[in-house]
């Protein structure tokens, strides 16, 4: 079963990833590219500007956001990150990498009825805090955790 699933997705390539996300109820196919591109937020060089421009300004830290990231990245080019918002009425979630040249990595709008859980992979240039921001009931919240990026080797 696992082997079949893996083969299918390999052959489907990048489309497979989107299919998987849609299958998991994360996105409805029609909505994938529906949101307007927020150029200002995605090209901001500073994490606070990026948060403000993405409409997460003034986010307060919340323990109701569970952020799961590796302590040390196995590969800075594809760092797996996972976030769950337990805040009622969550309508969007976004990831920021403080020390990336462009800190805003992705902004997910969650159609009503969607479980506020995002699992994705992000690119990190160096050791940095990763932030996830949440909008719920018109207010903004955040949680952050450091991920170490190292050149590797020399262990053991």
């Amino acid at each position: 079963m696992d082997k079949l699933r893996r083969l299918y997705l390999k052959s489907a390539g990048a489309a497979g990833v989107l299919l998987a996300a849609a299958g998991a109820g994360l996105l409805k196919p029609g909505e994938v590219f529906a949101a307007a591109w927020n150029k200002l937020a995605f090209s901001s060089n500073n994490v606070n500007d990026a948060m403000k421009n993405a409409n997460y300004g003034g986010a307060v830290e919340s323990k109701d956001i569970i952020l799961k990231v590796p302590d040390i990245a196995e590969n800075g080019a594809i760092v797996p990150v996972e976030a769950t918002s337990n805040i009622p009425g969550t309508t969007s979630m976004a990831f920021f990498v403080e020390k990336n040249q462009y800190p805003l990595v992705a902004d997910f709008e969650l159609p009503s009825g969607t479980e506020p859980y995002i699992s994705t992979r992000i690119k990190m240039s160096q050791t940095s805090n990763v932030r996830v921001a949440v909008r719920a009931g018109g207010k903004t919240y955040m949680q952050s955790k450091e991920v170490k990026v190292t050149i590797g080797g020399c262990g053991g």
Partner: protein, 571 residues
């Protein structure tokens, strides 16, 4: 300590003082009544543990570190105690066999007195003896077993796989095993180990769907008591070692998943839960404080031979943390007294394996002879004589590493050299021949390529800072458990009070400050990047040794340490 053991230790001390080599196998005999290895049975669940033997089938010398610095919460706590500080902390008398086993003190002299340590034929006898008094005892192998020797490399780990099956290993986890490649590990686990050895790891999953690669744990029944052994493989294998060897597997510490696995094992009726760990002891200690419901974490990776368990309190009660050294030098024996479904008491001993005191097991000795036979001529080639003590272990450098650095710089015509901070690699006493086998014990890896790279002074500093942070990051979960990269040709200071990027200063090459923008030729080996190539390091160094014939005592390139006052991790 029993009276008879104390008497025996006094005999050892006396023998040491008078300079006689110890060679009394009667010490092991149960009938003599004064056996060093007579452990009165205790409780009803016994676990035997060895780890990080690095494929040393034959007895070796292995010098413990004189520099093993702990900072922050690790300051002056085990495992970051060396020499007399360690002896004092664990109440071990100086000048005894145990003082020799656990420290570097008077190493060459004491090694001549007490002889070599470990060896699988000797370990096999000891395991059989301990098992005889503890029916049903499990033997746990913490990993780093299939790598570290010429024969393990040349047989693709098969010599160790066969030896471990004969030794009677019940449960195993891994680290360097994975550098033989994912397919090879799966092949052994699915075939050689099938129905005999359980390979467990709760923290390895496929990188696409997060499916488990190995069983997370196994429940064994010991004297009718269900005991769960959970595997914790080295969390940073794809970072410290080449990722391309295990391209589809993801690791990490995963203590939330560990909590789930512990809870699941308890729900299935496990009355004792033990984690067989390759985390490294600092990570084990942190993990023990965060995860509840574990009776003991039996660990390895950082090669710390710690005489007594650390007891860590956590929300669920307490967890013992033991670490059992390396190179076949120790066998850990953990006895639990389980009553009314829970652990009511424990006893732990970390037994040094003194080869001279143990009659080798005939069957294991025959297997070792057989696996070595095809390679014997190659292994025994004498390359040079070493005038000084050669060893590797220590936070910043060892004489064997200095020898590798000297060889790399001379042969490659480099300004400077880097050699990885590996903790495996045996020791050689002054006056011993350096054979091919000895050289391979420092270099036997599946990515042995030497490199010569032009690097700017800024890049050199960045690399040194990065590796230094792997050693001294205040969060154990952000350490990788290796030592500092060994540096040849460049002197530097290391400020232990500083953080990442600010520890390495005053870099000097040839009497001049290192220029951040100038390019230097830097030799190295063991690149983790895919596609790297170059002459194997053992060939480069073997040619150097044949040419030199006599190796004078090495002058260690060590950094000047700042902020090291009062640190019990420095002898």
């Amino acid at each position: 300590m029993s009276m008879s053991r104390r008497e025996f230790l006094q005999i050892l001390a006396a023998a040491s003082a008078s300079g006689f080599a110890l060679n009394s196998r009667a010490a092991l005999s149960a009938s003599s009544g004064s056996g060093f290895y007579d452990l009165p049975p205790y409780g009803n669940v016994s676990l035997l543990h060895f780890t990080d033997c690095h494929a040393q089938l034959l007895p070796v010398y292995y010098r413990e570190p004189s520099v093993n610095i702990g900072l922050g919460q690790s300051l002056n706590r085990a495992p970051h105690l060396v020499g007399e500080k360690l002896l004092k902390s664990f109440d071990i008398r100086p000048g005894t066999s145990e003082a020799h086993a656990f420290t570097h003190l008077d190493f060459a002299q004491a090694a001549r007195t007490y002889g070599k340590v470990g060896g699988f034929a000797h370990l096999a006898t000891l395991v059989k003896k301990i098992r005889a008094s503890r029916p049903g005892a499990l033997l746990l192998d913490g990993g780093d077993t299939w790598q570290g020797s010429a024969t393990a490399l040349w047989s693709n780990g098969q010599d160790m796989v066969d030896a471990c099956k004969l030794l009677g290993v019940d449960v195993m986890t891994g680290h360097w095993e994975f550098t033989l490649g994912a397919e090879r590990v799966k092949q052994v686990v699915d075939n050689d180990f099938n129905g005999k050895v359980d390979f467990v790891a709760q923290n390895i999953k496929t990188s696409d769907f997060g499916d488990p690669v190995f069983p997370h744990y196994i429940i064994k029944h010991l004297n009718g008591i269900p005991v769960a052994i959970i595997g914790q493989a080295f969390p940073y294998t794809p970072i410290a070692n080449p990722r391309y060897l295990i391209p589809d597997w993801s690791f990490g510490i995963q203590d939330d998943n560990l909590q789930k696995v512990v809870d699941e094992a308890r729900a299935k009726g496990a009355q004792v839960v033990v984690v067989l760990s390759h985390n490294g002891m600092d990570v084990d200690l942190k993990m023990a404080g965060r995860v509840s419901g574990i009776d003991a974490i039996m660990g390895g990776h950082t090669h710390d031979g710690i005489p007594a368990p650390a007891i860590v309190r956590n929300p669920g009660g307490q967890t013992l943390v033991t670490n059992a050294g390396s190179n076949g030098k120790f066998l850990g024996v953990l006895d639990f007294d389980v009553r009314d479904g829970r652990v009511a008491g424990f006893k732990y001993r970390l037994l040094p394996v003194f080869s001279n005191l143990i009659e080798p097991d005939a069957e294991m000795a025959a297997l070792i002879k057989k696996v070595r036979a095809p390679y014997e001529a190659r292994l025994s080639e004498k390359l040079a004589v070493s005038e000084g003590l050669l060893y590797r272990r220590g936070n910043f450098n060892g004489t064997f590493d200095q020898l590798l650095l000297d060889a790399l710089m001379e042969v490659k015509g480099a300004d400077a050299a880097f050699s990885p901070g590996f903790r495996w690699g045996i020791s050689l006493l002054p006056g011993e021949d350096i054979t091919v086998e000895h050289l391979m014990s420092q270099t036997a890896i599946t990515y042995p390529y030497t490199t010569l790279t032009e690097m700017t002074g800024a890049t050199i500093k960045d690399i040194m800072e990065d590796v230094c942070d792997n050693l001294f990051n205040p969060d154990p979960y952000k350490q990788q458990g290796g030592d500092m990269v060994r540096v040849g040709g460049i002197s530097y200071t290391c400020d232990l009070r500083q953080g990442m990027g600010r520890r390495i200063n005053n870099l000097m090459l040839g009497g001049k400050p290192l220029d951040a923008d100038k390019k230097y030729k830097v030799a190295g080996w063991a690149p983790v990047a895919e596609g790297a190539s170059g002459e194997p390091v053992w060939d480069v160094v073997a040619n150097y040794l044949r040419d030199k014939k006599v190796i004078s005592p090495r002058k260690l390139n060590l950094p000047k340490l700042l902020g090291a006052e009062g640190n019990d991790g420095i002898a």
